[in-house]
C-alpha cells in the first residue's frame, strides 16, 4: 500500500505488531485526499439526514396545506410557518420532504448494491474458477443482461408487478450484478494461477476450501471498488425510476419523485424540481469523490 510508512509514523496509536492496522492506514490515506474527505463529509451529512429525519425536518413532510401551495423559498406564512425551500404543489414543505426522501435513496441504493454484489461475486467466482461450460453460460448470461435497454426493462417489469420498494431493488440488482460478475471473473482468473492457490490444491484442499479461503478474499477488493463506484450510479437509476413514476410508490417521498412532481410546475414553481435534483447531484458527487479514492487506494489498475 502506498505511503504506508508515513501513516505508521503518523499514527503511533494504531501500530500493532509493528504494522499499521488496515483501517488506520486507510484513514490516514483518506485524510491526505481532500476531495475524498469532502465526499465523505457530504455522505456523512446525508446519512445523518436519513437517520435523524424526524428531528431535522421542520414540518411533517406529508402535511398538505392547499392554500400555501407553490410558494417560493424563504416564504413566511401568516400562520408562522417559515419555509426555507418553499412548498410543493400541495403545500407540503419541500425541505422536510427532501430530508425524508434521503432515507429511500440510501436504503434502495445500499441494498441494491449489496444484493447485486452478492450475486455478482458468486457468478464471477464460479465462472472464473470452474471455467469451461460454466464460464460460457455465465458470460452469455452477462451479455444478455447487458443488451437490455435498462429503463425499458424496468418499465416492463413494473408494468407486470406494479411499483414497490422490493421491485425497484430487484430491477436495479438485475442490471448491476453483471458489472460485478465481469470484474470478479477476471480477478478470479488471475488469482487462480497464483502459487498459493496451486499449493493449496496440491496439498489436497477441497475445491470449496480453496474457493472460500484462498480465492474469495483476494477478489473482494475489486468487488468493493465496483460497489463504491456504483452506489452513485444506482442512486441516479433509482431517481430516474422514481421520476418516471415506476420507482417506489408515490406515497413515499423520493428525490426523483419530488422532481417528477415539480416537472409540471417548472414554469411557475422552479424550486420544486430544482432542490431535489441538487440533493441528488450533491449526494452522487460525494459518492463519486469517495469512490475514486477507494479505487486508487485498493487497486489503481481497475478501470471502469
Amino acid at each position: 500500500m502506498r505511503e504506508s510508512g508515513n501513516s505508521r509514523a503518523a499514527a503511533p496509536g494504531a501500530v500493532r505488531n509493528g504494522r499499521a492496522t488496515p483501517l488506520a492506514d486507510a484513514w490516514q490515506s483518506l485524510l491526505r485526499h481532500k476531495a475524498a474527505l469532502c465526499g465523505a463529509a457530504i455522505l456523512a451529512v446525508i446519512a445523518a439526514m436519513a437517520v435523524f429525519s424526524p428531528w431535522l425536518a421542520p414540518y411533517d413532510p406529508s402535511q398538505q396545506i392547499p392554500w400555501e401551495a407553490r410558494r417560493a423559498p424563504l416564504t413566511l406564512f401568516d400562520s408562522g410557518r417559515w419555509v426555507l425551500l418553499g412548498t410543493d404543489h400541495l403545500g407540503r414543505d419541500l425541505l422536510s420532504r427532501i430530508v425524508y426522501a434521503s432515507r429511500v435513496t440510501l436504503i434502495v441504493s445500499f441494498t441494491a448494491v449489496v444484493i447485486s454484489g452478492f450475486i455478482g461475486l458468486i457468478v464471477g467466482v464460479a465462472a472464473g474458477y470452474l471455467g469451461r461450460w460454466v464460464d460460457a453460460v455465465c458470460m452469455r448470461l452477462v451479455d444478455i443482461f447487458l443488451a437490455f435497454p435498462f429503463e425499458l426493462l424496468a418499465l416492463s417489469i413494473v408494468a407486470v408487478t406494479g411499483p414497490s420498494l422490493s421491485v425497484v431493488v430487484a430491477v436495479i440488482a438485475l442490471r448491476v450484478w453483471v458489472v460485478y460478475a465481469r470484474v470478479v471473473r477476471s480477478a478470479t482468473l488471475a488469482v487462480k494461477e497464483k502459487d498459493f492457490v496451486q499449493a493449496a490444491v496440491a496439498v489436497g484442499a477441497s475445491e470449496l476450501r480453496v474457493v472460500l479461503v484462498h480465492v474469495l478474499p483476494n477478489v473482494l477488493s475489486p468487488a468493493i471498488v465496483i460497489a463504491t463506484l456504483y452506489v452513485g450510479r444506482v442512486i441516479l437509476i433509482e431517481s430516474a425510476l422514481s421520476f418516471l413514476g415506476v420507482g417506489v410508490p408515490a406515497s413515499t417521498p423520493t428525490w426523483g419523485g419530488i422532481l417528477g412532481d415539480g416537472r409540471s410546475y417548472i414554469d411557475t414553481a422552479w424550486w420544486i424540481a430544482f432542490f431535489p435534483g441538487l440533493a441528488i447531484l450533491v449526494t452522487v458527487l460525494g459518492v463519486n469523490l469517495l469512490g475514486d479514492w477507494v479505487r486508487d487506494y485498493l487497486d489503481p489498475r481497475i478501470q471502469t
Binding site: 452469455r140 448470461l141 451479455d143 444478455i144 443488451a147 437490455f148 435497454p149 435498462f150 429503463e151 425499458l152 426493462l153 418499465l155 416492463s156 417489469i157 413494473v158 408494468a159 407486470v160 408487478t161 452513485g232 441516479l236 431517481s239 430516474a240 421520476f243 418516471l244 415506476v246 426523483g256 422532481l259 415539480g262 416537472r263 417548472i266 414554469d267 422552479w270 424540481a273 430544482f274 435534483g277 441538487l278 441528488i280 447531484l281 452522487v284 458527487l285 459518492v287 463519486n288 469523490l289 475514486d292 478501470q303
Partner: protein, 333 residues
C-alpha cells in the same frame, strides 16, 4: 476470419434467444399473462378469447415455443388501444429515437474530443483540473434534472429554444422522411434544418450528458497512454509541430479504444432516452413506452424492449466485426 464471423454471429443469436426468453419470463411473472394483454375494461369473453388465441391455456413448454416463433416474426400481439400490431407502432417511433441518440452521440464526441485532448496535453494544470471536475459533476448529475434546468433557462427564461416536440407546426410537410435533422442537413433545407436543430439541441444535450462525461475521461486516459509512446517522441524529435504530433500521430492511435466504446455508447443512448423523451415530450420509443405503461398497453412495452435489445446486439455485432477487420490480432486470438 469466416470462423470468427460465424462464431460471433452464433453468440449474438444465443443472446437474442436469451433476451426473448427473459421477455417471456417477465410476461409470466404474475402467472396471468392474459390479464396483462387486456385493458381493465375487458370482459370475460375477451379474456377467454385472448387466452386461447395466445395459447395461455396450453402447457408452458408449448407456450414458450409459440412465443419464440412469434418473436422470430417480431409479433408481440396487437396494441389494444390502436388495434395495430404493437411492433409496427414501435417501429414508427424508431426514427425519432434514433435521430435523438445519434445527435446526442455526435454532441458527446464534439465535447469529449477537444476537452479530453486538451486535458491530456495539459495534464495536472488548471485546464485539466477544470475539465475533469466538470466531467465528474456531469457524471453525478441526474440528466432529467439537467433537462428541466435547460428548459428553465433556455426555453422559459431566455425564450431561445422550444420546450418540446421535434418541429414547429407546419414545418413537417417539408420533410420526406422522419429524420428531420439529418434530412435538413443533407438536402441543405435551411428552414427544416434550423428548426429541427432548435428542437433537438436541448434533448440531445440531456441524453448525451453521461456519454460526454465518460468519453471525455476515456479520451484523456487513452491520449495519456499514447503520448508517452516512443513513436510520439520520434515524431517530436523529427521536429513536427506539437499540433501535428498530438492531433495526427497520437490521436490516431488513441482512438482505438474509442471505437470500441462508440458502439456501446450508441447502444446505451438508444436504450436510454426514456427519461429525455419524457422531459421534452420527444415522440420516440421511450415516450411511447411510458404512455403504454400508463394505459397498460403491454404488447407495446414488450415490443419496445425486444426491439431495442435487438438493435443493441446488432450494433455491437457490427462493431466487433469491424474491429476484427481493422485489427487482425483479434480474429486469431
Amino acid at each position: 476470419m469466416l470462423k470468427y464471423i460465424a462464431g460471433r454471429c452464433l453468440q449474438a443469436l444465443v443472446v437474442l434467444f436469451g433476451i426473448t426468453a427473459i421477455c417471456f419470463a417477465i410476461l409470466h411473472l404474475t402467472g396471468d399473462p392474459a390479464a396483462l394483454m387486456l385493458p381493465e375494461s375487458a370482459v370475460q369473453e375477451d379474456y377467454q378469447e385472448i387466452k386461447s388465441r395466445m395459447g395461455f391455456d396450453r402447457p408452458m413448454v408449448e407456450q414458450f415455443a409459440q412465443y419464440m416463433a412469434n418473436a422470430a416474426r417480431l409479433d408481440f400481439g396487437s396494441s389494444y388501444l390502436q388495434h395495430r400490431p404493437a411492433m409496427a407502432i414501435v417501429l414508427d417511433r424508431l426514427p425519432a429515437t434514433f435521430e435523438l441518440a445519434l445527435v446526442a452521440f455526435m454532441l458527446a464526441l464534439i465535447v469529449a474530443l477537444p476537452v479530453g485532448i486538451l486535458s491530456a496535453t495539459h495534464r495536472n494544470t488548471p485546464v485539466d483540473y477544470a475539465a475533469m471536475s466538470t466531467a465528474l459533476v456531469g457524471q453525478s448529475m441526474p440528466n432529467f434534472w439537467l433537462g428541466l434546468m435547460l428548459i428553465l433557462i433556455f426555453s422559459l427564461g431566455l425564450d431561445l429554444l422550444p420546450t418540446s416536440g421535434r418541429l414547429a407546426y407546419g414545418i413537417e410537410s417539408r420533410a420526406a422522411t422522419e429524420f428531420y435533422f439529418f434530412e435538413g442537413l443533407l438536402r441543405l433545407d435551411w428552414v427544416l434544418f434550423s428548426d429541427a436543430l432548435k428542437h433537438i439541441l436541448l434533448p440531445a444535450m440531456t441524453a448525451g450528458l453521461y456519454s460526454s462525461a465518460r468519453l471525455t475521461r476515456l479520451v484523456r486516459s487513452s491520449m495519456l497512454d499514447v503520448l508517452s509512446e516512443d513513436y510520439v517522441r520520434t515524431a517530436r524529435a523529427k521536429g513536427l509541430s506539437e499540433w501535428v504530433v498530438v492531433n495526427v500521430h497520437a490521436l490516431k492511435n488513441a482512438s482505438i479504444p474509442l471505437v470500441t466504446m462508440a458502439g456501446i455508447e450508441l447502444g446505451l443512448l438508444l436504450g436510454g432516452t426514456v427519461v429525455t423523451e419524457t422531459v421534452f415530450a420527444w415522440p420516440g420509443i421511450g415516450l411511447l413506452t411510458i404512455q403504454a405503461l400508463q394505459n397498460d398497453d403491454f404488447p407495446i412495452i414488450q415490443s419496445a424492449v425486444f426491439l431495442l435489445a435487438f438493435i443493441f446486439v446488432g450494433v455491437n455485432l457490427v462493431v466487433d466485426l469491424m474491429y476484427a477487420w481493422l485489427d487482425p490480432r483479434i480474429r486469431y486470438a
